[in-house]
């Protein structure tokens, strides 16, 4: 009895958090974290210990591609633009910009007096140098394709042209950067806040190509600068006195730790050894920590979804795919299985991306109904039509997922729902090691597989161009000329009306053809002491401490 009451309490608290999570999501972009809330006095000691969870593999903005590197880089570097607490990309290294009529040429004016942490001025040449360097084939940047928006960027990276001066980036003088794009890119300002677009100190890098390996040689231009880096143990950054907006920066020092183990993280947080934990939190502890307020969530621009191998019977039948999708109770999964305040996904593009006006998701609404009863009835009808009434005769199939993370409970829930709602009894589960899993899925050697995608920039395109016929990301086997054409139309056009219409049509197609089975929209999960204020946990990109401070406690 006691146990049941406790459980009910935990469940209702979890739902409360969920509702709170939804609340944060409505609003234009969603206000992340509280900046300068009322009442709070600043503590005398403005220092934080933050657990990253992993050693950043590199501090070179041109080479980085993982979350822990990008988190540190966000705080010690700065691009032309920066994501601010209101969710807008504001002027950062750039002071202002102009766009040509056709949307192809962008001219950025840099601020006066901007400096590297070693005192050298930041110039437009540093940007030109950084972008061309990241595109150079021999440099081997994994994220080079983020610069394919630049004119001839892709050709240069592929080795089709060898003259870097043909790439669409040019410093007209120390203060003016002219960027020429391949196609109009309305979300370009969200790209210029991304690490691959950061400047690097030309003089320093030319003198020492391995400049980013250690704290002693690393030079940045962000709100903080690196002072110590003990690999696999800690990385210390302090306020950068050369930063143009240093008056906004209140924190004096952040010590990043790299503690990988979830249980250890939770203990360190509760012991007060860590103020902010961005590393792992054990799935088993999450509901408890969310309920007590020791763990928090903010929306993340990402979708957790399932795909089926559309080249293989019975999944080549769109009715089967639709039935499988309809028979999943997404609400039950986020409330009973994942339990971290994720939003059930009834469409593919997550909320929080602007449309011509308003929110792309809200404007389009759901593509799958929230009414489970109707969904199940429809799913049963479709399955019977496809020749498997009440699941009879449905061939054995395997749900494939990777061992790491909590994918198995979701797979088990889906297996049970298909059994209960559709009468399909011979679905089995199989887990594989991460890299083996990726290859199996990519080679279409699976029946049903889990998948997940985090957006790269603030535009629906980052969720839609992955399903074109030639996309390396399309592991469904589904190919459609019509879909390719819609994506191409959106990419060619500078007219927001035309772009958004094409992308809405494209997303609808994914559901008419049941190419994807979305489950939920991701959230950022983290722990943060109540006196830590103003840390940005944005839906895309990494945690930003520029506006953060410690409240007296």
């Amino acid at each position: 009895m006691k146990m049941r009451r406790l459980r009910a309490l935990v469940a209702s608290l979890a739902i409360l958090t969920l509702v709170a999570g939804c609340g944060a999501r409505t609003g234009d972009e969603g206000q992340q974290g509280s900046t300068g809330g009322p009442g709070g006095q600043q503590a005398a000691k403005q220092e934080l210990v933050v657990n990253l969870g992993a050693e950043p593999p590199t501090m070179d903005p041109g080479l980085m591609e993982d979350h822990s590197s990008i988190t540190v880089a966000t705080n010690i570097f700065e691009g032309l633009t920066r994501l601010n607490p209101d969710g807008k990309y504001e002027a950062a290294m750039a002071e202002s910009w102009e766009t040509s009529e056709d949307g192809l040429v962008w001219t950025f004016k840099l601020r006066d007096g901007i400096q590297w942490s070693n005192g050298d001025p930041v110039t437009a040449h540093d940007f030109e140098f950084a972008w061309k360097r990241a595109l150079a084939p021999e440099f081997g940047s994994p994220y080079a394709y983020q610069l394919y928006y630049l004119k001839n960027g892709e050709k240069y990276n592929k080795g089709e042209i060898t003259d870097p001066d043909q790439v669409g980036v040019k410093a007209l003088d120390d203060k003016t950067l002219q960027v020429t794009l391949e196609a109009p890119t309305p979300y370009f300002l969200s790209l210029t806040a991304f690490p691959t677009y950061y400047p690097v100190p030309k003089k320093v890098v030319e003198a020492n190509p391995n400049w980013a390996a250690e704290a002693a040689t690393l030079v940045g231009n962000g709100p903080f600068k690196i002072v110590e880096w003990v690999h696999n143990d800690k990385l210390v950054i302090v306020k950068n006195e050369n930063y143009w907006d240093k008056d906004t920066v209140k924190l004096e020092k952040i010590t990043f730790l790299m503690v990988p183990d979830g249980a250890t993280n939770v203990t360190m947080f509760e012991n007060g050894e860590v103020d902010v934990n961005l590393g792992a939190i054990p799935q088993a502890d999450l509901p408890r920590l969310l309920a007590s307020g020791d763990a928090k969530v903010t929306p993340q621009l990402g979708t957790y979804y399932y795909i089926v191998n559309t080249t293989k019977p019975p999944f080549n039948d769109v009715r089967v795919r639709k039935a499988l999708s309809l028979a999943i109770d997404r609400k039950a999964i986020v409330e009973n299985v994942t339990r971290a305040g994720e939003l059930p996904a009834y469409a593919f593009v997550p909320p929080g991306i602007p449309d011509v006006s308003g929110d792309f998701r809200q404007n389009a609404g759901n593509y799958i109904s929230e009414d489970m009863e109707a969904n199940i009835a429809e799913a049963k009808r479709l399955l019977a039509e496809a020749g498997y009434p009440d699941g009879k005769g449905f061939p054995p199939a395997v749900i494939l997922y990777n061992q790491e993370g909590a994918h198995q409970p979701v797979a088990e829930a889906i297996q049970a729902m298909w059994k209960q709602n559709l009468g399909i009894t011979n679905i089995t589960l199989q887990s594989q090691e991460w890299k083996v899993f990726l290859q199996t899925r990519h080679n279409l050697q699976y029946d049903i597989a889990r998948n997940g995608w985090l957006g790269d920039y603030l535009d629906p395109m980052t969720f839609l161009d992955m399903f074109t016929s030639d996309s390396g990301q399309n592991d469904t086997g589904w190919k459609s000329k019509e879909y390719d054409e819609l994506i191409a139309t959106a990419k060619r056009s500078a007219d927001p009306q035309v772009r958004m219409e094409a992308m809405h049509k494209a997303e609808k197609m994914l559901f008419d053809e049941a190419v994807v089975i979305p489950i939920y929209f991701y959230v950022n999960k983290f722990q943060e002491k109540p006196w830590v204020k103003g840390v940005l946990h944005p839906p895309i990109g990494a945690e930003d401490f520029k506006w953060a401070y410690v409240e007296a406690h």
Binding site: D60, P137, K435, G472
Partner: protein, 309 residues
């Protein structure tokens, strides 16, 4: 002696070559590559990366190149840690793992041997029962559970010790305990049983009959013989414990080599897998050689005269 050492060195090098070749081909035979991730790289970018790290070369050329560099102990760049070489990563991680390992080893040897002796001398009395019960626990409880329990008690409940990381003596206590539990128990049981065996020997009875004082008897005659199996065990144990424990280093966030080894496999960081494996193998071969030489010193029955025995 010199010929024996030379022969052992030669066979050691042969062993290392076999290990290097096997690891080289096996690591590349696992599905998935170093640059696979949820976000598939465009083919052109992947090609550039393969070129940068010479993964576009035919496999025999990569192998010969690697072997040549291995002879010079140039272990190449890490794929995952783009700004670091494998030599640098080992140079950072090994001293930490070795420091932790040496402490654990010292605890294991001192505590293990003492407990073993006491158990043997007080056979079937409470000292023996206590020591052997503890040894059974230490022997059978996996180190990750022991580590978690220690953190729970001493950091979470009592708040006496920091939960993780490395660098000060109070941070070392829990990982050293967790890491030494198994070898301590093993050594204690080993010493106990071999002590009991030695104590039954006729020469012990003779010595005792002659009126030799107890501690000399124990130290000079019993222990010296009883210690032999421990030395056998210490060889591979030292190499293993010095190169770090993945579990302990992960739980306590210790920047050692054990963690690097396991994550390098998950990352398919070929050069790092190779580098750490070879480093470990060299240590293991060396440790075994030293143990064999130690036998000669400790056990007069063994003569390591080279040539025909």
């Amino acid at each position: 002696m010199a010929r024996y050492v030379a022969r052992r060195l030669l066979s050691g090098i042969l062993t290392l070559w076999v290990i290097a070749s096997l690891t080289f081909f096996l690591s590349r035979a696992i599905p998935g590559g170093p640059f696979d991730s949820e976000k598939q790289l465009p083919p052109a970018v992947l090609e550039n990366l393969n070129k940068k790290y010479h993964l576009d070369w035919p496999i025999w050329k990569q192998y010969l190149d690697y072997m040549w560099r291995l002879i010079k102990w140039d272990l190449g760049p890490s794929f995952r840690y783009a700004n670091q070489t494998v030599n640098e990563i080992i140079a950072q991680g090994f001293p930490v793992s070795a420091q932790l390992g040496l402490m654990a080893l010292a605890v294991a040897v001192v505590v293990g041997i003492s407990a073993g002796i006491i158990s043997a001398l007080r056979q079937y009395r409470w000292q023996d029962h206590l020591a052997m019960t503890l040894a059974t626990v230490g022997f059978s409880v996996p180190s990750f559970i022991l580590g978690s329990i220690l953190i729970y008690i001493f950091s979470y409940r009592l708040g006496w010790l920091p939960a993780s990381r490395w660098g000060t003596w109070d941070r070392a206590i829990m990982p050293v305990l967790a890491l030494s539990a198994f070898p301590t128990s093993f050594i204690a049981r080993l010493v106990r049983s071999s002590m009991l065996e030695v104590l039954q020997q006729d020469y012990m009875k003779a010595a005792r009959a002659k009126g030799m004082p107890g501690y000399i008897l124990i130290y000079r005659h019993a222990l010296k013989n009883a210690i032999l199996p421990v030395i056998t065990f210490l060889g591979p144990l030292s190499a293993q414990i010095l190169t770090g424990s993945f579990v302990i280093e992960t739980i306590f966030a210790i920047p050692g080599m054990g963690r690097t080894f396991v994550t390098s496999i998950a990352n398919r960081d070929y050069t790092l897998i190779m580098g750490v494996t070879m480093f470990y193998s060299v240590l293991l071969v060396a440790a075994n050689l030293i143990v064999d030489l130690l036998y000669a010193v400790v056990d007069p029955r063994i003569k390591v005269a080279g040539g025909g025995e």
